[in-house]
Symmetry: C2
Subunit: 429 residues, 2 copies
Amino acid sequence: MSTSAAIREAVEQAMPFAESLFDRLKANTADGAGVSREPYGPGEQYAHDLMAASARELELGVESDRAGNLYMTLPGRDRSLPAWITGSHLDSVPVGGNYDGAAGVIAGLAVLAAFRRHGFTPLRDVIVMGVRAEELGSWYGGNHQSHIGSRAALGVLPPAELQAARHSRSGRTLADQMRAAGFDPDAITNAAARLSPERCHGYLELHIEQGPVLEARGLPVGIVSGIRGSARARNARCIGAYSHSGAVPREYRSDAVLATAALCVGLDQAWSAVQCAGGDLVFTVGKLYTDGQQHSLTKVPGETWFSIDLRSQELATLEHMTRQARSLAEAIGRERRVRFDLGAFDLSPPATMDAVLRGALGAGAQALGIAAHEQPSGAGHDAQDFAQAGFRAGMIFVRNANGSHNPHEAMAMADFCLGTQLLAWMLLR
Amino acid sequence: MSTSAAIREAVEQAMPFAESLFDRLKANTADGAGVSREPYGPGEQYAHDLMAASARELELGVESDRAGNLYMTLPGRDRSLPAWITGSHLDSVPVGGNYDGAAGVIAGLAVLAAFRRHGFTPLRDVIVMGVRAEELGSWYGGNHQSHIGSRAALGVLPPAELQAARHSRSGRTLADQMRAAGFDPDAITNAAARLSPERCHGYLELHIEQGPVLEARGLPVGIVSGIRGSARARNARCIGAYSHSGAVPREYRSDAVLATAALCVGLDQAWSAVQCAGGDLVFTVGKLYTDGQQHSLTKVPGETWFSIDLRSQELATLEHMTRQARSLAEAIGRERRVRFDLGAFDLSPPATMDAVLRGALGAGAQALGIAAHEQPSGAGHDAQDFAQAGFRAGMIFVRNANGSHNPHEAMAMADFCLGTQLLAWMLLR
């Protein structure tokens, strides 16, 4: 039997184990139609306890760091070599789906279960990591940065964030929440990095796709080329002047809605131009509203509020589009007698996945007969923190109908099995 | 002395009388920075009492109809002839300005005061009318039709409206409010028209301009060509689909904001085309908003709500733009994978001012040396109800900085004097 065939068979046989983990996780963190695994709350803790118990049954080394991240290690043949790390996060958004995050940890454990059962010993240590609090923003307010666990493990979490982040409902700080969960935020803050690029061969993360691309193209698996960075105007405004919708002629109006519409259409055209030139970009005005207290059917609108979210794998594209937004806003403002205040654009740089790992993932998919393609990740993932900290990082997407961050995530176990086979293939290299 | 010079002098001498009426009206209906003269409330009643008392001092005939409209009559040389009617409304929006409406009644009284003082007896009776409840919508909710007094006097007020209109704050019906003010809504409802086109030589209304045109062009007086009709979509929607702002590529999005922006820009272009072709149009999207409960910086927006207000002097233009809106919505919906639900367009037809009266107003302005021009009225006025009921109607606009329906209306008495001279010239014909 070829190595590829052996891997395929071994991982297939680990699927009932994986499925039972998914089932127990869902049953014990259910919340209405979905699941809720709040960072440093009982749902996330249940997930960590479940994974740790399964790892102990597989006789893996089980450790936690001061931020509560979980490390489950299968020793390799040469323990002096830098280790593989694979994993993802175990928290979820409120009333989210069962797969976003957890699939990456369960895939890692399924691979190690397959290795144990079939006596495959990898060259180097394989560490399955369960990351804490990747979805923090959905619980602590969107203006706060997420990815707490990975950044803590990498030693790049600014201490002030643990005090600044306040729970959307309770108002409790993240530091207090961590303390209540039995961790010591002060120690975390002062800790050196738990992980370093020198001691890591590479970070691999399997994750459900959060968009419709694999579903639409009929592919079970995607290889992530990079994680899009973002440039975001969170609280943009257009300031015009309220006036009578019947009595004021066109040339005397300062209409904030028509000006904002012109800006949206202008940026939409700039988006098309970037795509035609082969660039990577998505552009979203997720929020747009006139003033509910002042607007009226019969008033020329005097003000709008809106948001701009630009995402690209290319820093230059983000910079180009930010400039476009500013110059369009100025030109439209002049032409239409309004003033735009876009505010500062928050810039989060793109994270490129490692070229060698991408090539290996492609070769692996071919060897295993898995139909896969390369695609960007539009959503953020722990892998971007590893990449930005100087680790080689790669990601495997698994097809998922219905998007993520909702109870209707739909990942077929057959697709999960293919993604997990590809992960196993990598970890045996 | 020429007739023109005599009119000029007589009206100028009546200005202190007019100014004292404005002052007393403002002092006794003051509400914060502005005035409040609620339909069938104490402010409007004070205005009616003040005008009636002044009319009695001028020895005019004073009558009211069952809707509470006030008629102050100077007998003409031939009382068998159809009478001139001039006037406007005496109510105001909440915390509005002192001139919107009242200026037209005070102008009429100032003309009659000038006629009395200088012994001018017009050929036909001149009736100064103080109209009730023109601003009803601002007190009873915008979905309700206003112009209660004029429609009641003209016999075109559907009985059901008095029961259907409910006060925005108290919830009381208009019928109850009229009853509490001492009128009999049932009698009004069943009354025949108080006024008929056969017994009226023409209806003339002086009113402050509610837009900036006269101010911008440096003209004290405007002659109204027509009152714009409107076609209104009060509760239009665009239905797309919420999705991840980072993970969903352009071709899989159903972005309600970009689709709505494209519709706004398309209609804005259609507006330009109508104007370039010499048509009359204003177009306003006064309200536009995503869902505050669901929208987010990081979600492709799945829905918008918005309003469309189209106004024109030409019914054909309103019909053309309504068709444009529907066809653009369909094309954009198809292209962008969204669905527009514009709902029904409420159509209020334009009212053309009488060509003979317009010509006479132009001739009068020339004879009096008043710089004036023709312009449409974008706002509605009682004059439109007279025009639609088959009366000859004309309107005189007086320059007004700062728009109307706010405490900052600014009409110079010198401009008011010129407009009133023009009115006097007409009433002596």
